[in-house]
Amino acid sequence: MKKTVKKEDIKIAILRIEGTNCEQESYDAFKRLGAQPEFVHLKQLLNIDCKKNERRDIFQYQCIMIPGGFSAGDYIRAGAIFAARIKSKLQKKLIEFVKQEYPILGICNGFQVLIELGLLPGIDEIMSPVPKACLNINDSNRFECRPTLLKHENKGKCVFTSMIPKNDIRLIPSAHAEGKLLFPLDKQIEYIERMEENDQIVFKYVDPNGNYAGYPWNPNGSISNIAGICNYIGNVFGMMPHPERSFYKYQHPEWTKEGLNSNIGDGQAVFTSVLKYICRRF
């Protein structure tokens, strides 16, 4: 008989290094839903400068989350140093983790790390040796920080959005300076077509009528208005906006006008979806 994991037994590693700064709200999101998140410093996985009882292995967890922030001061490029440190020792384990269909989430800086790691876009391989996409400086050359509207485009591949109906529009805040998704210029159309075929496009920036509008609705100039993508398996997911910042309805800027009919914020489903997936899959 297949064993199933109970929600309260699900362990999530909230991975951090110096400069990570969204780990608390990411931890809280999973904790409030009854799971067992744990702050894990990358050194604990690399076995560097830590005591024996602090050492961890990624297979002690059913999910890894890389939260937002400015890891390593965004030096070189946002997320590049975090990714290089992960790759230095954990590459094989990480590939195995993804192969076994355990989920990995990257939000904002975490998304940048997943791109630099080569785990995303993950069109036909689990991890590419060099990045195949880039989250470049916003077209405005500014840090764009405000609520953004996201249309859910995924047809069911992404394990982090299974509880969000297709075409649903969600209000989730963005806060980034480097969020413009780019593919190699000579392969942009090919990549997007293949990602659409694979059902890898998850969220797109829209205006209040659901149109794929330009700035300011698309805060960074991202190609095809893309805000979030998953790999071809559907278990590695990255998005620029912050679902952990709209966990409760009262975190929405207009909740006083709309009332608190429900206390569930628009971003909460990202966390409930993955917990449901883990319970069902493992």
């Binding site: 070189i76 590049a80 140093i81």
Partner: protein, 89 residues
């Protein structure tokens, strides 16, 4: 010992918001003859190796594995000067 300079630029067709913004500010300051601003990044390395080809190969690998993102960047590796064998810089 080798001193190497890496010049990292943006590929043709990749927008350069930092350059565009700087151009706008320069125009506001009255420098109207400036027609284009491109931003580049320079990284200097001092490498303790004996063989120039090994250095070239290693720096190339550094660029591909960390210092650049091949989707948007071009890079150029230049040897600044070669020091005497064993002499500290």
């Amino acid at each position: 010992m080798f001193e190497v300079q890496i010049k990292i630029g943006l590929k043709k067709g990749i927008s350069d918001p930092e350059g565009a913004n700087t151009l706008k500010a320069l125009h506001l300051l009255g420098f109207n003859t400036v027609k284009e601003v491109k931003t580049i990044r320079i990284i200097d390395l001092i490498i303790d190796e004996k063989n120039r080809d090994t250095v070239k190969k290693k720096v190339d690998e550094m660029c591909q594995r960390l210092l650049t993102n091949p989707v948007i960047h071009t890079y150029e590796i230049n040897f600044k000067e070669q020091q005497d064998k064993g002499k500290m810089i």
